[in-house]
């Protein structure tokens, strides 16, 4: 006997439904979960990249995502382009934004704390950046909720018999996978990627071999910010844009990154998909507020059992 989701207690005879309907519901929810989860993963990807190299949890990551969303919003609404075409503008703008944010605001703190392995004050500085960016946006654009009314993806659905699949989320899924592979390839096989990995393993040794670690940091921060920009582009077609939007994804991002393993690229995407699946399938069997509980429970469990996360390396060096 399977209980029909969406029916209240107490159960009655007509509250049970066929296995086929039930299977269809689960498939539909699983698809949504995977699509949405991969987008969560993409929002967390930049966080994991920056942590992997700088060894700093970037609390301003959600705000960078928010900045990316505003850049996308204005590009799309001013030019009327397909949201994904705006990537041409968003990626370089966000890369430069991240590069110089690190160079001007965070680097001096790094230099002041260069003998500390995990510079704590930098975390505090990123928190400051978070508040400044959010409030600056509030000041400039007001508290309004915006969304792009006439973008080419908004509200598009693929309907296969009774199963609905959101087109903008499908685009987001594809983008997340491509971005993750792209970043992975870059770190693994390019000369610059190797330099970044060398710095992440041992920044003093890297410096001794002629790598300018601060430049590497700037670049990594730029890459992380650009990835946040890509995530912003995937969100804009179906999500609202407002000054504190980053906070919602920030918390989720931290959970995903710890779940998947701090610094791990596949970990971020898989962690995102796990969270997405729980959020999507869970509510059909319980109230939606409980799924948050499950996500946090899983988060704690992973911390207890495998503190390095599902894909994290146990000893980082």
């Amino acid at each position: 006997m399977i209980v029909c989701p969406g029916r209240p207690l107490p159960f009655r005879a007509d509250h049970f439904c066929g296995l086929e309907t039930q299977m269809m519901y689960v498939i539909e929810d699983a698809i949504n979960g995977i699509l949405m989860g991969s987008i969560y993963g993409l929002t967390a990807l930049g966080l994991t990249i920056i942590f992997g190299v700088l060894k700093v949890v970037n609390f301003a990551h959600g705000s960078l995502l928010m900045v990316g969303m505003y850049v996308t919003f204005w590009t799309v609404s001013l030019t009327g382009l397909h949201p994904y075409v705006s990537l041409i503008f968003v990626i370089p703008i966000m890369y430069l934004f991240g590069y110089y944010l690190q160079d001007i605001v965070i680097k001096p703190i790094f230099k002041a704390e260069k003998n500390v392995r995990e510079p704590l004050t930098v975390i505090i500085v990123t928190t400051g950046v978070w508040y400044i960016l959010d409030n600056l946006t509030l000041l400039l654009f007001g508290p309004q909720y915006r969304s792009i009314q006439d973008n080419l993806l908004k509200g598009k659905m693929i309907e296969i018999s009774d199963i609905f699949i959101s087109v903008p989320k499908l685009w987001g899924f594809a983008t997340a996978i491509v971005t993750a592979f792209g970043v992975f390839y870059f770190f693994q096989y390019t000369r610059m990627g190797r330099a970044i990995r060398a710095t992440s393993l041992d920044r003093d040794a890297a410096s001794l071999s002629g790598i300018n670690q601060y430049k590497i940091y700037n670049m990594t921060f730029g890459i992380g910010t650009a990835v946040a920009g890509i995530a912003a582009v995937t969100l804009v077609p179906f999500y609202n844009i407002f000054p504190t939007v980053g906070v919602l994804f920030d918390i989720k991002g931290f959970i995903i990154v710890v779940l998947g393993g701090l610094g791990s690229i596949p970990g971020a995407i898989i962690g995102g998909i796990i969270v997405g699946l729980i959020e999507s399938i869970g509510p059909q069997f319980m109230t939606a507020t409980w799924t948050e509980g499950i996500v946090y429970g899983l988060f704690l469990l992973v911390l207890f059992v495998k503190p390095s996360g599902l894909f994290g390396v146990k000893y980082d060096w």
Binding site: G6, M36, Q144, Y145, Q149, Q284
Partner: protein
Amino acid sequence: MEKRHAFWKIMGTTLLLALFMAASLVISPVMAGDKVIKIGNIIPLSGPSASVGDQGKKARQMAIEEINLAGGIKSLGNAKLELYYADSESKPEKGVAEAERLINTEKVNVLTGCWNSAVTYPTSAVAERYGVPFIVPVSVSDKITDQGFKNVFRIAAKDSWWTRDQFSFLKDMQKEFGASVKKIAFVYENGDWGKGFAGQWKQLAKEAGYEVVMDEPYPSTATDLSPVVQKIRRSKADVLMLVSNAADAILLTNTLAEYKVKLKAIITSGGGHADPSFLKAAGKNAQYIFDIVEWETDVNKPGAKETNAKYKSKYGTNLTGEAVDAYLAMYLIKDALERAASLDPDKIRQALADTDLKEGPGMIVGYDAVKFDATGQNEQASLVMVQINDIGNGLERISVWPKSARRAGYTPVFPKP
């Protein structure tokens, strides 16, 4: 040089102090020799609710000017009304202290305020202790009039009436359009507000005999609401009732449209659905939603349009529900004073208790009369339901219920096509 600095500092501080004192004291000038009735107003003029307090202040000011211009209180020898303001800063302790000051030092005849329920509640006890009539234009918490006080009179609807009116509306709609509703889904934000509403909904649904097919709180911070929307779709509900904050209201409305959820009506509870950016961000997907509000500018009442136009030309914004309640409060005081023909607090109190105000410039609210029950609650108060629709001027909020307040010439769309 040093001394000069100190001198300017002191001068500056004194000036500032004087300014503050002037601002917080008498606002409306009164001719010497006139008989004066003092009305103390405790409202949030700074702090988080300052914008609401400011609207209330402007509406009071406009009403008082009209009343005084028309000859004041005739039964008291054309006595003029005079407003005293005190800033509550939305803080209960400030409200209490200011009430003491207004009563003891300024010797006000009537008190009004305080918008924030948390401030009104303790302040009403002060007014009761001194036996000063206390008029509450709007503060929704039920408990304000549940204290058994003799001097507290509330004009606006209380908390529990919001849900009551949503259900009366639903019943009236079914009767008017001959459509029947059986299954109801409740979806609400997971906070005090949403849960409070849902608790009352469940009771009302049980009394009215509806089948509740879904009862679902959701986190307001959710980044994806399609799982909840899927659940609504699968529950096959006729009517969906929502309590949402801003971001989730937009997300839910868009997602419901994307998944083509078939509903006869969506009834919402203000909050996010009344947010000015909601219509813009949800666009066409918001069409046909019914929302509950205290007041809407298009309410079909004699004088409403003119009063709103006057207010707008004076202060630059439309009247809000809070402003209308404050405006009505001044006319209520005038009405009671005319009948009391005395400044004796007991006589004023009695006159207020006997109020049956049906017309006059103040009656631009959605309901037809002000009449207080034994607890001091205006038993005639009700809320207004609006429908979001486009009748040629883009999407707008159109008053539809109660029928007497419906915009002339508009027929609500029910059930939703």
